[in-house]
């Protein structure tokens, strides 16, 4: 807009740099400290460099059985990811047309995003307790013999996570379809494509990179979720809940090793998703246009 850099640019650049240090600095510190030597503590100085705390973590010799918490979190995250992508895509398509209750559904989704998590979590927990009571009271004894609770990872826990990931998914879908050129679908329809063909061969390839983004959101939001999990997961706890419990009991760098390990998983998923997105975009660029390739 104006020629050259103004003085405010340099001030703001410094502020931005400081903000990044503030964001990443502490995380870098625990990354470094997780490589403490076996005799090292929670703070500097480093007493040697080793993988001791990672070994302890993965051998299960540490405080808790993190292996199964890890697997549970991973499974739940994957299921949440798939459901978030499917349900948000369907709802995103629906919201492009008019239907009864549209505005209400939109506001419920927004409400689900901003009602404090502990309230949602408590509500679901109470609901499943009622279901338990109902099951015990009304079903015959032989069916309820081994029944303890319907609260669980893939019942109440899954539902709780979806109330958190779906609003984000829906909002991303709005952003996607706001930029979408409807004439492409109309062209497909005019050429005689069925609705399914229009979706499968025109719409889906175009929105696929963004759907990877929705999936990424779904997985990482579930992977790191605590507040909504706190009352709804039942006995089989997820990794973040274990981690939160550990903050009050564990006083060794093992907790930093755990922090580094789970952060690594998050990063891996982000990088993976970005790579897939880039590959899909590149593919679109290659196949998307037939300009200059015509028979004429």
């Amino acid at each position: 807009m104006r020629e050259g850099r103004s003085a405010s640019f340099y001030w703001l650049a410094v502020v931005f740099g400081l903000y990044l240090v503030f964001l990443y600095g502490p995380m870098f510190v625990i990354f470094v400290l997780s490589f403490q030597g076996p005799t090292g503590g929670l703070t500097f100085p480093m007493n040697g460099v080793s993988l001791h705390w990672f070994e302890r973590l993965f051998s299960g010799g540490g405080t808790v059985d993190l292996g199964s918490a890890f697997r549970r979190s991973l499974m739940l995250g994957l299921v949440v990811m798939v459901l978030t992508v499917i349900l948000s895509t369907m709802a995103g398509l629906a919201f492009r047309r008019r239907f009864t209750g549209q505005t209400l559904l939109f506001y419920v989704a927004i409400a689900s995003l901003i009602v404090p998590s502990i309230i949602t979590s408590l509500g679901i927990a109470l609901q499943f307790r009622l279901v338990d009571e109902g099951v015990k009271a009304f079903l015959p004894d032989w069916m309820t013999e081994n029944f303890t609770t319907s609260l669980g990872l893939f019942t109440s826990g899954l539902g709780a996570h979806l109330t958190w990931t779906l609003p984000f998914g829906l909002l991303i879908m709005f952003a996607i379809f706001n930029r979408f050129d409807k004439r492409l679908e109309e062209a497909a329809r005019d050429l005689g494509a069925t609705p399914w063909q229009t979706f499968r061969f025109v719409l889906l390839p175009m929105i696929l990179p963004s759907l990877v983004g929705v999936g990424l959101f779904g997985f990482t939001l579930s992977w790191d979720e605590i507040a909504r999990s706190s009352q709804t997961i039942g006995a089989d706890e997820t990794l973040p809940i274990e981690l939160r419990a550990l903050t009050t009991t564990v006083t060794t760098p093992e907790i930093y090793a755990l922090g580094t390990a789970t952060t690594a998983v998050s990063m891996l998923i982000i990088i993976l998703a970005l790579v897939v997105m880039l590959v899909l975009r590149a593919r679109q660029a290659r196949h998307g246009s037939d300009a200059g390739q015509g028979a004429v």
Partner: protein, 311 residues
């Protein structure tokens, strides 16, 4: 122009075509149904149950099927008798509100500055995306990890105390750095400035650059442009970011717990404490109160802007 005509014609045709050629047209409802179902089963009904349970009686072992306002009266116990002293719940809400306000102000100032830099000072779109991503990535990792990452810095034997003592600026470690109001605030700003940056940046990127040029040509100073053009046009982003930050801090119990050393009472913490004691009706009553307060705050904020229009 031609585009608009085509678009307008296309739009006017849709209902007719939909009725005759598109069997899917009736199924918009069906397409939205699974999402709606999840929200009904896991959000709307649970909220209803919270309200119901908040009016039930209880004893040490179970919820009793008798209607009572006991949970509410006990929650507000002493609020009138103790006057002019403030009762526990009002004190807790006052503390929470103070944190809320301070965190809101800090995240707003930082978030606005960062967004302003990215939107108006970075010229290449690629750099904008890369720097934007840099601000976003930490959001993808666990909040608890980002909280505990302050411990080696702020603790009694932490880096900051070590450096200050090493430089002989202080002789005994500063105690209030960790497990204090300060560390809670720091963690909130660290964790949630993201929620300000994203909507504000989004609003700023939509501002037509020619408006700024016009202001410059008309002789406006940098501050005048900022205050009379950028801030009003960024208002929707500011409001959306504020809604996020305020509701997060209002309902939070984890950050207050971990960073406050389990010492600071907050609105969310009351609910958690009741839950740990398996006292469901009072927990539910407190949830209803928190929900009511949150809704009032949000409705005040949404007076300022129509969220639906901004998407």
């Amino acid at each position: 122009m031609a585009d608009q005509i085509v678009a307008a014609r296309g739009r006017s045709k849709v209902p007719k075509v939909a009725a005759t050629r598109r069997p899917w047209a009736i199924s918009a409802q069906l397409q939205a149904a699974p999402l709606a179902l999840v929200f009904i089963v896991f959000f709307v009904i649970p909220l209803g149950i919270i309200v119901l349970v908040s009016f039930l009686d209880y004893n040490d072992y179970a919820i009793l099927p008798t209607l009572t306002t006991r949970s509410y009266t006990e929650t507000f116990e002493g609020c009138i008798d103790q006057l002019p002293d403030v009762c526990t719940i009002l004190k807790t809400y006052a503390t929470t509100a103070q944190f809320c306000f301070a965190v809101w102000l800090l995240t707003l100032i930082i978030g606005f500055t960062i967004s302003y830099f990215l939107a108006f000072h970075i010229r290449s779109t690629t750099t904008q995306i890369v720097l934007g991503l840099l601000c976003t990535i930490p959001f993808w990792t666990s909040n608890v990890i980002r909280m505990i990452s302050w411990i080696p810095l702020l603790g009694r034997n932490g880096l900051i105390n070590q450096i200050l003592m090493g430089a002989h600026i202080i002789s005994t470690p500063i105690e209030w750095l960790l497990f204090s109001d300060f560390s809670v605030m720091l963690a909130f700003v660290h964790l949630f400035t993201f929620f300000m940056v994203v909507p504000i940046l989004n609003s700023m990127l939509r501002i037509d650059r020619s408006l700024l040029e016009a202001a410059f040509d008309a002789g406006a100073s940098g501050w005048q442009t900022l205050w009379h053009i950028v801030v009003p046009l960024t208002k929707p982003g500011i409001v959306i970011g504020s809604i996020f930050v305020v509701t997060i801090v209002m309902g939070d119990f984890i950050t207050f717990g971990v960073m406050g050393g389990q010492q600071i009472a907050s609105a969310g913490k009351i609910i958690e404490t009741r839950l740990n004691a398996l006292q469901f009706p009072p927990a539910a009553a407190n949830a209803v109160i928190l929900l009511a307060v949150t809704l009032v705050v949000i409705s005040l904020l949404t007076r300022l802007v129509d969220i639906r229009k901004e998407l």
